[in-house]
Amino acid sequence: MTAIEASDARERRLQAPARGAVRGALASEITKLRSVRSTVWTLVVAVVATVGIGALITTARVSRWSELSPRERLSLDPTTISLRGVFLAQLALGVLGVLVISSEYTTGMIRTTFGAVPRRPLVLFAKAVTFTVVAFVVATAACFAAFLIGQSILSAKHANVTLSDPGVLRAVVGAGTYLTLVGLLGLGLGTLLRRTAGAIATLFGLVLVLPALTEALPSPWNTDVGKLLPINAGRALFAVRPSTDLLSPGQGLLTLVVTVGIVLALATLALVRRDA
């Protein structure tokens, strides 16, 4: 018997299924996400920041209530102030988004991953879907908690609003959506840069430093360009009172989605073209 006949004769105990590659990739990414500690830590930080900072800032405002002018009291957006923790939480979720792929590059795991799933865009797709679901559920739940706690604090001064007031529900869900999208931006940057520190620095620069720089531009460029930055597009999403400095909520969401879409498209392109 020749070697080739022997190979044909070997009874295969495992048979490759005909379909289900997407489901398999998703299941794999869920296991990966839940089996490392950084996931738990960044999510805990995001929740604590959202709820804690929101409660802290709302309490501070209420305790100074007697010092506030009538105009200041009127201009207070009870929803937005209770969601102030989002500004810190976005960093935690951004870091998680980066780590979802950069940790594979820094450890070398990515080569094992691509060895198992050679269709690289499928890997990124599965990571994005898994991250989106987990981040959206956790972030939105945290935003609801922050909102409810904030309103109970504001109720002492009868300044609270409810979820049935116009624009309020949209703002709370919008805050959760914004946090998720910042995380996806991190995932895209992590794929493009393949380094944890570099991707996190770039993300923070985009979210925190760039707004400060655009403010230095001459008018009306400062507000026109500023409006399009992720953080301001996000603020449009979770503000209840309209502001001339901000886009409408719909425009804000569109701007964010387009930004994230472009970065993820570039990331996919880089993923396919580069050697792993």
Binding site: A9, G24, G115, P118
Partner: protein, 308 residues
């Protein structure tokens, strides 16, 4: 079966793999041998589709690796045992790989058992020794019960017991009719493990033959002792032999076989005290084959220079 055809990979001006063509056939252990930097790892990365070839192609069972939807059923590979997320537990590491190819969960426990890691399945792999990481990588390679297995320097970091275990594993996998492709820069290791050798140097194919053929190809030498060495030496040189003085009353002859030397001596009435054919060891053959293609030569320092 792995088939490489004119496989070439350039990184800028460096040619890592240079027009390699070879077949790795099932039912035997094929050693992939070459000095460090010869292009072994790059070739394996090309097989797995991790790098894109600059020219040429390589297929596994007739298909490009990237065309497999669930490649783990066809190819199991271990390139770098430390290329795992250290924060993940061993079992979960294998589970996420199994899930991606829709391999049943019970298979994870089977391969853990097979490589002897069942007791540490719940430990984070960052705490593993290199030997344990190698076993984990082998478990991952075996997950899909694949036809083709590929290992890059698998004995690195294994203790002697582990090395014997891995040799037996390769042997049994090949005996089951699978294709086993194992790289190493150690000829001695390959001599014990492989049936067939593919030798490369500087990205080029140097040899592709069975161990036995390779051994007989190594230039044979004959040790000759005689009281009339000067006369004999001149005579042998006249007939095409390369003669070197080895010790007192002893010479080493190349390019002439022992019977020819004996006949020449008899015809000229020269007494021989010793006539011993010597086969080159695999190690020597390897050095002879790859001598021109070692990328990083150490400076040869003679004792005199050191003293000076």
């Amino acid at each position: 079966m792995i088939e490489a055809r004119e496989l070439t990979k350039r990184y800028g001006a460096t040619v890592a793999v240079d027009g390699l063509s070879f077949d790795v056939k099932p039912g035997r252990v094929t050693g992939f041998l070459g000095p460090n930097g010869a292009g072994k790892t790059t070739t394996m990365r090309l097989v797995l589709g991790l790098d894109r070839p600059s020219a040429g192609s390589v297929t596994v069972a007739g298909k490009r690796y990237g065309d497999y939807r669930f490649p783990l059923y066809e190819v199991g590979a271990l390139l770098d045992a430390k290329a795992v997320h250290g924060g993940r537990r061993a079992r979960e590491h294998l589970l996420c790989l199994a899930q991606s190819n829709r391999i049943p969960r019970r298979r994870v426990d089977e391969v853990l058992e097979l490589v002897g890691l069942t007791d540490v399945a719940r430990r984070r792999v960052g705490t593993f020794s290199l030997g344990m990481s190698q076993r984990l990588g082998i478990a991952a390679a075996l997950l899909g019960d694949p036809e083709v297995l590929m290992f890059d320097e698998p004995v690195n970091g294994l203790d002697p017991e582990g090395i014997v275990w891995i040799r037996n594993l390769f042997r049994s996998l090949a005996d089951e009719g699978r294709t086993v492709f194992v790289s190493s820069h150690l000829m001695t290791e390959m001599a014990l493990t492989a049936d067939h050798l593919i030798v490369i140097g500087r990205g080029k194919l140097i040899a592709d033959e069975s161990i036995t053929d390779l051994l007989s190809r190594g230039s044979g030498r004959v040790r000759v002792a005689s009281p009339e060495l000067t006369r004999l030496g001149a005579l042998l040189a006249e007939h095409g032999g390369r003669v070197e003085a080895e010790a007192d009353g002893l010479i080493v002859v190349r390019d002439l076989a022992a019977p020819a030397i004996g006949e020449l001596a008899a015809r000229h009435g020269i007494v021989l005290h010793e006539l011993t054919p010597e086969h080159a060891s695999l190690e020597e053959t390897f050095f002879e084959l790859t001598d021109d293609s070692v990328e990083f030569h150490g400076e040869t320092v003679t004792a005199g220079e050191v003293v000076r």
